[in-house]
Symmetry: D2
Subunit: 355 residues, 4 copies
């Protein structure tokens, strides 16, 4: 089965392959009466589009969104919002040489095993191009969240062996690296360039923070906020791990260190730390949500690798074409989008129970 | 809202509080004609029950399951399987002294913010006791998975600052530590005892592996196997992070290192490594699934901490009573159960599309 | 597959067979802070329980509900509400003689075909006894709806060939017939008695009206209010048809007759008729919801009928035991309950989008 | 909320307004490896499109479907199938005169109440034009069902006061009336013409039958086959009632008449009647499914009616423009489509549990 619908009340359903005529989808359950700021949406789309960063793929797509329904005179009507994004820069011939080979680290083999058929042009449905639709849906959701003062920002905090340090958090972080300003900024960029010149690729870590959070979002036990965020973000291609707050570090900690103690000062609650990353028992506590996300190196590399082909024979493969040497940087707006989708849905659910 | 239903075709819905009369739930969509091995189920329940390990809580519960429907003459009928687990060892008076205080690191504050009311006895719905129902549902699902040769095993691989090394993987791992045999076994146990004698608690890491996997499980893009596993496992209380395969390490790697190259030998496919942790593009590749899960230290500690009360005043708190000094060890069977629930559901979906 | 979960935000999941130890379920997503009036709930349960009417089955069940979670000090906590209803008056030996025969008009054959196995005691899961759980869930939902002034009432308006006329609508309608006062009341009761003395059964029609409706409930196009009500009510055993407002009569009408024209008088909107039955475009218009529901005659009759057995041989069958000669009357509280479940869920969704 | 997704495994999500640029949607969870017969799909679309019958609207739309994904070299890949249908014959000026008036019998008022905003051009989302997307999804599903020998046919069996009699069932029934051949055929057509010349409209009844059914489809108790069919068909605009088999007539029957007795002859099971309409206990019994559906008269009529406007003032209204004088005839392919969507989904679920 394929399943391309995210969300409970606000739902995003998507379709489209890397080299088909268009991608697109439906945003359903979106509230009526919201003014749609197309400049904001375009700015979000531009952040992710191929060609947005000099450190990314050479493919150029404008990722122009055509909205087909659900908006009347610039205002949402409450009806389902259909949209498409035309592909314009396909170069399917890039894939002729490897059409019958399974690229290591790619979904070629698993799609073939699952569906018994596969669109070999550029990854088909498993291509990162599908995330353009997520960014559109996420941008709509951000408009909702902003009404409540909730702001989402993500940035690259590690590339390969180089980890950012001492940075302050003031998103949105610009290209080419979508990283906060830090002493390691240039070295992180160099990691990418070196990988590329080695006909290789490199991984990275994306951090995402949500500020202005309301307490009370999340539905225990099966719809916990951290569980749904983890599921949504893990569904982005190339993501291999996620942690909240002190995350894996908390495993090495004592309770007395890790617990976020609480304090009232002048009628205002504060937590003395944020090891929880803003979520306790699957419900937001009002503190900033903090997540770290591990992104594997792009599997498409020009170096020769061992693989097999459709005929189940051993064969070498070199994946040439136009690939991002480090997919982590273009994952930044996608992480923001998936976070927005989950939070807007949870916000909407919370409103149903407000009193 | 509360949402306590996991799954698409095979679904587990649960209820119950730590100090109420009973916990329980419904397993729905379970196939008919499956012989229910009650000894197997009891052994799974026994692994998780309070009192199962000398390194855990002093609370003693037998966690006897009463099955109320869906099984006739020992065979599943295909109808919904209702079950309850009576609480027998409540000692609600333990909570009298702290009933109006929000325990740091607990869900007390977030439940109060979300629902405007809270059952203060032992954590109510946010208590780890709810996982008993997950273990029951998971045990049923394991019976299904075993028909296909799929086996799930989890074990503790780190406690506090002590990480297991050089272990071989032969689950199920027994109490007291639910860890593989390794040079650090005793030191891991000592970490727990030291934390306890310090009136403190400590975190840990659980590893989970699935062997005998079929390729083709998982539903891109919104129901990817890793995304659904991440969501299911992150929904277990105290889990703060999860990674698949090389996980966070992959972020520091090159594509040429991280890609799992493929080889046919004697007609049999093998991957030359398993950095993917058995999942590519959200679909299983037939390789073992490997996950690492970060578990925070138990928030309930007898040491004095700073907090606030219902009246929004500052107050110290000491959480006394019967608590696990390290919740990671009792999380082991729960991780196995959630993995089983996801995989059985995905298996069932895959069967719908088999040809 | 079996699927026993109704609803989107407020969800009822049920289990239990006619002759098993207990039925029960989980009400999930129910708002917190609602005082639970147990007398009201018991009165609803009593309306449906076997033995509630002299015109029904001789089986006597008290249908005592044991609530296991989700309520603390008489107030809902927002967590899932687990409940069970013990069976106390099983007489499974009634079914020994027909255990391997498929009762005509029953689900025996279809369950056997679907699941390859069947609990032959009293209909197992397909028994009307499962509706006790729906009535519990519905009663909780009615408590919510009453906060908004929404009231649900159903009554029998036809038995066999006798149709009530000239009745006024003042529910709840009492046993034995659960019908409004009308000239045909006695004749309707006689239809049932005659059928029973003929070792036969008889069908009937239930009308349901909802007053005090809010406009705006219902989610086009897949969650329309009338569609969801139709689905929920059609899921009650023995229901074979449903219509809204002028229903099948509208098929014979002109638009100029059937359209409900509108009028403002003293600032108050009124519709000049209610052929729509309170729903337009799948959304409530504030007018009363009016539904008519066709209930087939009870399939269990003592008369000899032709059927086949598990061995696929022809055989006669006489279904003896304790059956309702007319199931329509005991369907009344179940229709009310399913209506309440749908409306409370829709109300909750509407609140999520209120501004 | 709007909710535009039908189905569990095979899901259709739609969008689009009558006078927007395009309608469209996503078919998700559709099996891979199915050859798509575009001629078949076009023939289905052509049956419903405006202009398909001389007894319908004068609006002409080609309803050309552009498929954007999920099909590669004419074969489904298992990925989500995106599609759009451009509107080409909008004449929005038709609505200028009534843009601020609520048309009686329409969803204008309820959309305004629900969403606080409304697209006044031709009904917006509540227009029958949205059903074009359902017909596309249904046509795909019919391709699946045909592999199993399941065939769906619907036809008009009553218009206004004229009911077809003595017809034999050999669908597909052609325009202009989409009715089986019968003595009343011309009179039914006359009912429509008379209504039209009276500046009025008229209702009708559609019958739908499914032949070649498999036993075992349907998921008790919340996903019963008849319940899901009722919900899906009731979600079509203008449907006001539905019944299965003997339906409302069963309410007047005795059990001994209404029960479908069973017989084995030469190893083959037959039912001696089909009052159940092919469904018992919410599960198909292998007999033909038979449904009757009440369609109200088109609410748009040129006659003057009383209504109110956005300013909540009384006003007369005449709905001019290009309307179907009897929507029942164009509902025929939509009923077929919704039936196909439900059955294909249920078939897919049944396959998951086949052994």
């Amino acid at each position: 089965m394929s399943d391309n619908t995210f969300g409970t009340l606000i739902r995003l359903t998507t379709f489209g392959e890397s080299h088909g005529p268009a991608l697109g989808g439906v945003v359903d359950g979106f509230p009526s009466g919201i003014a749609i700021d197309m400049d904001f949406i375009r700015s979000k789309m531009a952040r992710r589009r191929p060609g947005s960063t000099t450190l990314g793929t050479k493919r150029q797509e404008s990722d122009e969104v055509e909205i087909l329904s659900g908006i009347y005179n610039g205002i949402t009507t409450g009806s389902s919002i259909g949209f498409i994004i035309r592909n314009t820069s396909q170069r399917s011939s890039d894939y002729d040489a490897i059409a019958d080979k399974f690229r290591p680290g790619h979904a070629d083999y698993t799609y073939q095993m699952k569906y018994g058929i596969r669109d070999p042009r550029g990854g088909g449905r498993s291509s990162g191009r599908e995330t353009s639709c997520r960014v559109f849906g996420g941008a709509l959701c951000e408009l909702l969240l902003r009404e409540e003062g909730i702001e989402i920002g993500a940035g690259v905090v590690a590339i390969g062996r180089t980890r950012a340090s001492g940075y302050s958090w003031n998103p949105p972080f610009p290209p080419p690296l979508y990283a906060p300003s830090c002493p390691e900024y240039e070295e992180m960029a160099e990691e990418i360039k070196r990988a590329q010149s080695d006909q290789d690729s490199v991984g990275g870590i994306v951090e995402c923070r949500v500020t202005g959070m309301l307490p009370g979002l999340g539905e225990p036990t099966a719809g916990k906020l951290d569980a749904d965020l983890a599921g949504a973000i893990m569904s982005i291609g190339a993501v291999k791990g996620i942690e909240f707050g002190s995350g894996f570090r908390s495993a090495a900690m004592r309770g007395s260190e890790n617990n976020d103690q609480m304090r009232i000062d002048g009628g205002r609650l504060s937590f003395l730390s944020n090891n929880a990353g803003g979520i306790l028992g699957g419900i937001s506590n009002g503190n900033d949500i903090i997540m770290c996300i591990a992104i594997k190196p792009t599997p498409s590399i020009a170096r020769e690798q061992k693989t097999i082909n459709l005929g189940m024979e051993n064969t070498p493969i070199k994946v040439e074409g136009r690939h991002d040497p480090c997919i982590a940087i273009r994952a930044v707006p996608v992480v923001e989008a998936m976070t927005a989708l989950v939070l807007a849905d949870k916000l909407c659910i919370a409103r149903a129970y407000a009193r």
